[in-house]
């Protein structure tokens, strides 16, 4: 029997029992759609998290915090070696001041995120200025884009503390060339007197990519590190002053390789690829779990297919007997029933995939809307949330499961059809 004739034959049978076939396809559709939509949440959240992570962090950054053996310091020679690695753009050593800092400019005071760093390497890495120039002398500094906004007069500070709606504008003129004073108080048990250093601002960093990010950095040349340390922690020898090293790759695709190299060299390393791996692992497990639960729905719907096929074999016992009597091969009969159950699975899957894309679209549109209304926090509008995502891989997996299950559930009824006894079947009344 040619394949076309087989298909014709099956179509004819399916037409005869439209309602039953429709209900079975509906069950298969619901099972498969449930599987896809459920798993799509795993894919959607994974994408949301990945996007969030990628947009909030410098992707090319590899952070090194000490050596794995714990005691020996990272030396300048080590840093030199790192900067000679392939695809490394810059190596920045960065540290924070160990004490209470207060920054003032004339009658204004402010809080800054004071960092001691190598400004030349910072420039190579990613530091771009919106205004001014990079420092050339040790006492020249670069400040963050929002720093001036937080440089408040006493009156402004008072105002800001009284009501949350009034946001003081801070210092609105150019900071370039201005001298600011850094007052440092050591964090010791007994009270100690602060000490003041003066710096000249030569550059202001570019505005951060995300508008909810605040850049309050005060970037001071690392030559002050020992000086500050001797003041705040005189008991610690200068050569043991702590700093972190950041290695910047020239491209995100090299981050993984650089991370691995540095790890092999015995450093404690953190990069986004590390975190991504952990996150990927988590989401892979989540997706597998959701697929598993979804597959149970498909299995439940397969009971419908099994039932329908069993009924239709029983109903057609006489016809199958006649077919066998006039010379139909039992294998052909088996194939006809298998194609029928497979076809039900395929139909169900096609409808389910279409339906799932619709549901996914609606979910991505409506759910964030509802959540935003409930949470209603400022700055949230900016975050794009994907609740449900259906990549082609998910469609492939779901189709495989759903059609596979349909075929398996048609297997027994099809076997039953081949075992029908011709004589018994012919004896059946019309």
């Amino acid at each position: 029997m040619s394949f076309r004739d087989q298909i014709d034959f099956i179509r004819q049978h399916m037409k005869k029992n439209k309602l039953r076939v429709f209900m079975t396809v509906l069950a298969a559709t619901m099972g498969c759609a449930f599987l896809i939509v459920l798993a799509s949440v795993g894919f959607g959240l994974h994408k949301t998290m990945t996007d969030e992570m990628m947009s909030n962090q410098l992707l090319t950054e590899v952070r090194i915090f000490g050596r794995e053996d714990g005691d020996s310091q990272i030396t300048t020679a080590d840093q030199q070696k790192m900067s000679e690695l392939e695809n490394v753009k810059a190596v920045v050593s960065r540290s924070y001041v160990d004490g209470v800092t207060s920054i003032s400019m004339n009658d204004r005071t402010g809080q800054g995120d004071v960092q001691l760093t190598n400004l030349k390497e910072e420039e190579k890495a990613n530091l771009a200025l919106s205004e001014g120039e990079m420092p050339t002398k040790p006492n020249e500094i670069v400040i963050g884009y929002h720093f001036a906004q937080k440089l408040l007069t006493e009156a402004e500070t008072e105002l800001a503390s009284q009501s949350e709606d009034e946001i003081p504008t801070g210092y609105t003129e150019s900071m370039i060339g201005k001298t600011i004073s850094l007052e440092l108080t050591p964090l010791t048990e007994e009270k100690s007197d602060p000490k003041v250093w003066d710096f000249v601002v030569t550059g202001v960093a570019k505005e951060p990519a995300k508008d909810w990010m605040m850049d309050l950095r005060v970037l001071i040349d690392e030559s002050y590190r020992t000086e500050f340390q001797e003041f705040t922690q005189p008991e610690v020898p200068a050569e043991e002053s702590y700093f972190e090293v950041y290695v910047y790759a020239d491209d995100i695709q090299h981050v993984g390789a650089i991370t691995d190299t540095l790890k092999n060299d015995g450093y404690n390393v953190y990069s986004i690829t590390e975190e991504m791996e952990t996150m990927d692992l988590f989401f892979t497990a989540l997706k597998a779990g959701l697929l598993f639960v979804g597959t149970i729905a498909v299995l439940i719907s397969s009971i419908g297919i099994f039932n329908t096929m069993t009924i239709s074999v029983t109903e057609r016992t006489r016809e199958i007997g006649v077919m066998k009597a006039i010379g139909a091969n039992p294998k052909l009969i088996q194939r006809l029933f298998l194609i029928e159950s497979t076809w039900i699975g395929v139909l169900g899957t096609i409808i389910a995939v279409t339906l799932s894309y619709g549901i996914s679209y609606l979910a991505n549109w409506i759910i964030p809307e509802i959540v935003m209304n409930i949470v209603a926090e400022e700055g949230m509008e900016d975050i794009s949330v994907t609740i449900s995502l259906i990549p082609w891989q998910l469609v492939a997996i779901a189709s495989f499961i759903s059609i596979g299950v349909a075929m398996i559930s048609g297997w027994r009824p099809a076997r039953k059809a081949t075992k029908i006894d011709v004589i018994q079947a012919l004896r059946q009344e019309l």
Partner: protein, 232 residues
């Protein structure tokens, strides 16, 4: 064409453990020549249908040999037997056994589909047969829209369509009135003459059996007089 030797079959009936063994065919031996109409006549329950079922390969005999067109068919597997039937046998049943979902035309076409004959060729063959058995007017009717005689004509056409040399008929007129019975018997005779087909007709009715060239009588599973009863 067909040689049956020492064919024996026993059914087990009743509950398991307490079965009774009922011999239904007892050393049946007979020979059927090509181009003949052969009838096997006997009372109800004498084992006629069982003999036909074994011959057709619907069931395996307990012992004995069956040769059809020089092939030992009792040894064939189920699939092999199906293929063998498709090429060597046509069937006419008492209840016609047409597919209710197919038109007369499509019912006749079915064995050709099973054989994988291309559509054009099928069309030509079926149309010719529709004319030959005289159902041109009702070829696109479904079985439940046809009279018994018309249904049996469709079933005869279905048996002929693959050009099988042997037609096996179990009570072909058992469900028909005597007038229609005559028509069908005449059709069988004319097909035998014009196409040289071999017919094996099973019947309880001597009148039907008498159209045969050879007639065997079966009584309690054994051939009466050990063989040919009468030759026309």
């Amino acid at each position: 064409m067909i040689q049956i030797r020492d064919l024996c079959h026993t059914f087990s009936i009743g509950k398991r453990g307490k079965e009774k063994r009922v011999p239904v065919l007892k050393n049946v031996s007979l020979e059927i020549e090509k181009g003949q109409i052969v009838s096997i006549v006997g009372k109800s329950g004498s084992g006629k249908s069982t003999l036909l079922h074994v011959l057709a390969g619907f069931m395996k005999p307990e012992s004995g040999s069956i040769q059809v067109a020089n092939q030992e068919t009792a040894l064939l597997s189920e699939s092999e037997h199906a293929a063998f039937r498709l090429n060597h046998f046509g069937f006419i049943f008492q209840n016609f056994q047409l597919m209710p979902g197919l038109t007369a035309f499509e019912n006749i076409e079915l064995p050709l589909k099973l054989k994988g004959v291309p559509k054009k060729e099928r069309q030509i063959n079926v149309e010719a047969l529709v004319k030959k058995v005289g159902i041109t007017q009702v070829a696109d009717h479904y079985p439940n829209e046809l009279s018994g005689g018309q249904q049996q004509r469709v079933s005869i056409a279905r048996a002929l369509v693959t050009n099988s040399p042997i037609i096996l008929a179990d009570e072909p007129t058992g469900s028909l009135d005597s007038e229609t019975e005559q028509e069908i018997l005449l059709l069988i005779q004319s097909l035998n003459e014009s196409l040289g087909l071999t017919f094996v007709i099973i019947t309880h009715d001597d009148e039907v059996a008498n159209i045969a060239h050879r007639k065997y009588r079966l009584h309690d599973g054994a051939l009466v007089n050990g063989g040919v009863l009468h030759v026309v």
